[in-house]
Amino acid sequence: MRVWRYGDDINTDQLFPGKYTYTCATPEEIKPHLLEDLDPSFASEVREGDIIIAGKNFGCGSSREQPVVGLRAAGIRAIIAESFARIFYRAAINQGLILIECPGAVHAYREGDEILLDVERGELSVGGKRFTFPPLPEEILAIRRAGGLLPYTREKLREKRKSQE
């Protein structure tokens, strides 16, 4: 597992350049351009299970969801940041990408530290230091449990139809 470390206010143009927004939509199309204008090594070196640690306001800017779709498809286990921009945060919920807002863990991390993560219990260990983060509200956990917003919506539509029959 590798930890990718970035700073404050990483915007979605850096995570996925706007010039590709209307030509790349599938995970396969998105992945080669991930973080292209921030860290050109990322797309070729990222591996399943890697973690991103960043500062405040991660994912600010455009509402494009390609960064979230791409990072999820690339196998990013979680993004731990001091804070997230709100549209990015919603997009992550909708795609089932795990975001953890935990400034203490971000500040504690030193290169080489082992990171252990238990999302269900809301626990995080960074280089042996333990942090907790609160669970999401029930309404939002239901979306994650369903595997993202679209599977959740499909379930709801099926239930609604059933109840009308």
Binding site: P17, T21, E36
Partner: protein, 474 residues
């Protein structure tokens, strides 16, 4: 953060931010324009975690309570709402691509819900974007979408604004971050991602967290050649790119001097300080603007109570604000124009959803009338809509800007996001009236983007270097 979660009366209250109770007052380095009062108040509802105390409500609390069909809501509460409109643009192609089988089976929830505007890559720049546009047109036809505007009508936010599709008290969500623009007319308007837009097409409802609010009180009036763009850049420079993260920003105070177009510019940039919504009260200026579009009975204005509680209150004296420039590569890297004057500019860009309206083009024409732009500089002019283009034609503005050396582009978003038109070369600098100057934003990682008002961009086009518009005679 995220510590204060409690379940009460069957509802979740989750407070993502627990700011300190008092923040240190600060003066903005650019001068005394910031009045020395910066108080952070945590909503009493959440702070005590005890009985819900009835008190004044913010704009966001009132709109969301109404839309959720409950008597009151508190910050942090999750509510389910049915938005009045859902804005989508060229990304409609990707949105409907996600839900093909569901659309076949269940159809669209309501053909009057979406507002679809083809604007991001217009006219189509490639076979792929053309195919996307075609797919959108076919979808619109198949499902009888009421509010569809094809390429050439305008930039989506300008079109929504012009057509009276965002009204006071409405909840409008859109798969574009600058959906917050409609706060200019007192709507609760906010950006979402494509997947959420897809789900909304099917169900017509979604969850929203009731935001905390920030009250920004404006005092005085701006000086000559200083505009709303300078005001909002100044505020963003002051509070930072995440200064209003997750919050509803309410503008209060002396708003009579701000036209509806200027309010649009300010609300548009709300997201650049992280705001969920950025909103103005409905007054005579709003009503006069809406009168030519809709009947007054078709909307009900909502505004905050006097005694509403805010996470933070800020005051700005507009008379102290100078022409401002946001320097690469952050929107909050704001400096008064004097500090960056003289920097050479390769391309000047006047347009976008932030500053492509008639009043913006008018001020540029006043500066450039009978003159020619500097030899080493290019000027791109992009009216925000066909309506703006026609009005500018009638006033002779288009001819003035074209004769001055400007290239007139059809209304669209291409240059702003680097999709096509006006893409920069490595090492080039652009001075733009847009809302973002992120690295790579205009298509090239090695280029620099500076943001300013139309007056500053027009004045700089004349000289070829960043120029204080107050120093250029009109």
């Amino acid at each position: 953060m995220n510590e204060n979660i409690m379940k009460k009366k069957g509802m979740w209250y989750c407070c993502e931010y627990l700011p300190s109770l008092m923040e240190t007052p600060s003066l903005h380095p650019t001068g005394a324009s910031r009045i020395n009062r910066q108080t952070t108040i945590m909503s009493a509802h959440v702070m005590h975690g005890a009985a819900v105390v009835h008190m004044g409500k913010t704009f966001a609390e009132k709109v969301l309570a109404k839309k959720a069909g409950v008597s009151e809501v508190v910050p942090g509460q999750i509510v389910t709402v049915k938005p009045d409109h859902l804005l989508t643009h060229d990304n409609t192609a990707a949105i409907i691509g996600k839900i093909g089988p569901e659309l076949d089976e269940y159809g669209i929830v309501n053909p009057e819900l979406p507002v679809i505007v083809i604007d991001h890559v217009v006219p189509a720049a490639s076979e792929k974007t053309a195919a996307n546009h075609k797919k959108i047109r076919e979808f619109v036809k198949q499902f009888g979408i009421t509010h569809f505007f094809d390429a050439g009508t305008g930039i989506c936010h300008q079109v929504v604004f012009e057509r009276g599709l965002a009204l006071p008290g409405m909840v409008v969500l859109g798969s574009d971050s600058h959906t917050c623009s409609y706060g200019a007319v007192g709507a609760f308007a906010s950006g979402i991602d494509r997947t959420e837009a897809a789900a909304l097409m099917l169900t017509g409802e979604t969850w929203l967290k009731v935001p905390e609010s920030i009250k920004i009180t404006l005092e005085g009036t701006v000086g000559p050649m200083v505009s709303a763009k300078d005001v909002i850049l100044h505020i963003i420079g002051d509070i930072g790119a995440d200064g209003a993260n997750y919050c509803s920003v309410e503008f209060h105070g002396n708003l009579a001097s701000l036209s509806i177009e200027e309010r649009f510019t300010m609300a548009n940039m709300g997201v650049e300080m992280g705001a969920k919504v950025a909103v103005f009260p409905v007054d005579d200026i709003t009503r006069r603007f809406l009168d030519s579009r809709v009947d007054r009975t078709s909307y009900e204005a909502v505004w905050a109570d006097e005694e509403a509680l805010y996470r933070r209150e800020l005051r700005y004296d507009l008379s102290g604000i100078e022409p401002e420039v946001a320097c690469p590569h952050r929107v909050d890297n704001v400096k008064p124009v004097g500090e960056v004057a003289g920097i050479e500019i390769d391309q000047c860009f006047i347009g976008t959803c932030t500053n492509g309206r008639l009043s913006d083009l008018r001020v540029a024409a006043e500066i450039l009338k009978g003159k020619t732009i500097a030899k080493h500089t290019r000027l791109i002019v992009l009216p925000a809509s066909r309506e703006v283009f026609h009005a500018a034609l009638r006033e002779g503005i288009i001819e003035i800007l074209s004769r001055a050396g400007g290239m007139i582009l059809p209304p669209g978003c291409g240059p702003c996001l680097g999709a096509h038109q006006g893409v920069l070369a490595p090492g080039e600098r652009c001075l733009s009236t847009a809302n973002r100057n992120f690295r790579g934003r205009m298509g090239c990682r090695e280029a620099e983007i500076y943001l300013a008002s139309p007056a500053t961009v027009a004045a700089s086009a004349l000289t070829g270097v960043i120029t204080d518009p107050r120093e250029v005679g009109t």
